[in-house]
Symmetry: C2
Subunit: 340 residues, 2 copies
DNA sequence: AAGCCACACTTTAACGCTAAAGTAAACGCA
DNA sequence: TGCGTTTACTTTAGCGTTAAAGTGTGGCTT
């Protein structure tokens, strides 16, 4: 193994004190021209690289942030991480990546791990709120910055947040279907979490805004999985008069719904139009490209990074902020005009 | 901010030395029963958590590994990271995530950053070898473990590797098409990197094994992007006799090829069968589900993690190993029997 | 009863760095 | 000429932890 170059070594070889070397490297004013040059030359000669661990210990800043996401396999969260990474790495921060697997116990373990590692801040993403509120509060009180992405935690935890406008998601999707001339619009609801409830709320809002009467039987319980969508769609297909459009709580369930429709011998969008939410990658490569309401995950990540870096920076905002990411309608084939 | 609990504080409150506390927490033998209990009680009372940074400084181990991948948006690499994460986190290691954006300069910067942060080891993934060989060698000589995933770096860098069997990828894909009764099989080649070349090599091997004459004009230069596939396919469509099957160097280019085929008014697989490689997520949701030759990225990540943890562990292997991940054929719609 | 050893601790030093306080020499000025 | 100031450093201390060496007490041996 090669010998490790430390400031000590540089100082020794030049016959100066370690502090002098430190001052040169930190651009302090009180070092003479000649000495500075000698130190710099030696630094270059020996290929000195500062030891970030030692630095962190004295400065009490690791320049490292932790991210906890529920699932690494889900492109959704990965895109957020990509957004985070680009901002954070440009500012000289490292990202410690953790997956909670949707398990509150693992989440807790990861958060403790991040705390022990003295990260400067944490970005926490999750579909459902999972407790650990006590720990999160403690983190804040320890001076570790915290940003939550789309997490319905008790507002008990005071921190910055990046949230999606789920009501608007439901409203946009449903309004689009109405404008396409659809009359009997069903909704496949997600799991009983706040996101789904708000999307369902947006569905109701849109119908009301257009003076359409809400029929409770057209709102069926579904879920976020493809199979949930298939199951729910089967029930919707049993209604008379039949629905001619469906807003599914998310894209996988929308895909499941399409499969059920095809199985019943009907066509998308001719017989029934479909709109999903939260665009999956490749959604435009489907047999019938899926219209969806989505928002930029990259932005979500970037915004979270900005909020966090500001909070742990020299002049943090004095209040906690919530950034809302606006959703957008992405029109593709599955919501085309009805067959005459 | 809450006061931070250190060993110092625990020691002071109990009137013992810091070392005693350290020994209790590290389960050393030479601490009396009573003292041990008192320390443990205090630790629980104050909710003490060790400071990993300080620990790293003395132990010269950060229990942190770095991963450098070229692109976070590409599910391919993300799945590798997921595999890594599961192994690594179970063993108490943290993962510092970096994206090189395929840029050798950024890669170098990230590697230097990881070195400064004193990571115990690095996993490096990349499509094309990008130099930085000098740095990589230096890392090894500094005692930082290194595992390369599928990187065609000069064998100059001595380290453990996880590689895919690209020749077998090409062979499996092509043999499958032959067995499906296809006679004129084309190949859309990837970019001029070793992976593509080996896949093309596998294509040749399969043809030879089945006694089929290789026609050079059926091997067209393509690339790894969808547009590359489209462009290359257009050229293949110009050949007479026309090809009745195509093995594309990867899935995006296979999708591009399919689009070109449809645009020419032909059908997949009736007129032309398509096989891709390196399964993309959702490949089975395509208009015509794509047959592909793939391998487990999760395994790739897990194996890389195991190799690295072994190398930086107490009894590392004395030689550098290469683990080959075997590819598998995933048959879907795009390689069905020809029409008639 | 002197010597030895084991036990249960404490002291010292170190990891590599930075901040704060200290100091010696040169300089400016009345 | 003597005193304060500036310049260019060095010394000291500390971040939180662990390893190695040191210490004092009591019990056991012979």
């Amino acid at each position: 193994m090669a010998p490790i170059t430390t400031m000590k070594r540089i100082a020794a070889e030049l016959g100066v004190s370690i502090t002098t070397v430190s001052k040169v490297l930190n651009n302090r004013e009180d070092i003479g021209h000649a000495t500075r040059a000698r130190v710099l030359a030696k630094v270059a000669e020996l290929g000195y690289q500062p030891n970030a661990v030692a630095r962190s210990l004295t400065l009490r800043r690791t320049h490292t942030l932790g991210v906890v996401i529920p699932d690494l396999m889900h492109s959704f969260f990965v895109e957020i991480v990509a957004g985070l990474e680009s901002v954070v790495s440009a500012r000289g921060y490292g990202l410690l990546l953790c997956s909670s697997n949707e398990d509150p116990a693992k989440e807790r373990a990861e958060l403790e791990m991040l705390r022990q590692r003295q990260v400067d801040g944490i970005i926490l993403a999750s579909v459902n709120a999972t407790g650990n509120t006590d720990l999160l509060q403690r983190l804040e009180s320890l001076g570790i910055g915290l940003v939550m992405i789309d997490r319905d935690d008790h507002p008990a935890v005071r921190c910055d947040r990046v949230i999606t406008d789920d009501v608007e998601v439901g409203r946009l999707a449903t309004a689009h279907l109405i404008e396409q001339g659809r009359k009997a619009i069903g909704h496949i609801m997600g799991p009983p979490i706040a996101h789904s409830k708000r999307r369902a709320g947006g569905y109701r809002v849109a119908l009301k805004e257009h003076g359409v009467r809400i029929k409770p039987e057209r709102m069926v319980r579904g879920g976020f999985m493809e199979t949930d969508g298939t199951r729910a769609m089967k029930r919707l297909l049993g209604l008379r008069p039949r629905v001619d459009a469906v807003f599914a709580a998310n894209d996988p369930s929308a895909i499941g719904a399409m499969k059920a429709i095809w199985k019943a011998g009907l066509r998308v969008p001719d017989d029934i139009a479909i709109v999903g939410a939260g665009e999956i990658t490749l959604g435009d490569l489907l047999r019938v490209p899926l219209t969806t309401v989505s928002w930029s995950r990259d932005d979500q990540g970037r915004q979270a990074a900005e909020l966090l870096l500001d909070r742990i920076g020299p002049t943090p905002s004095d209040r906690f902020r919530s950034v809302v990411i606006p959703p957008q309608l992405i029109v593709r084939g599955s919501s085309g005009k009805p067959a005459l």
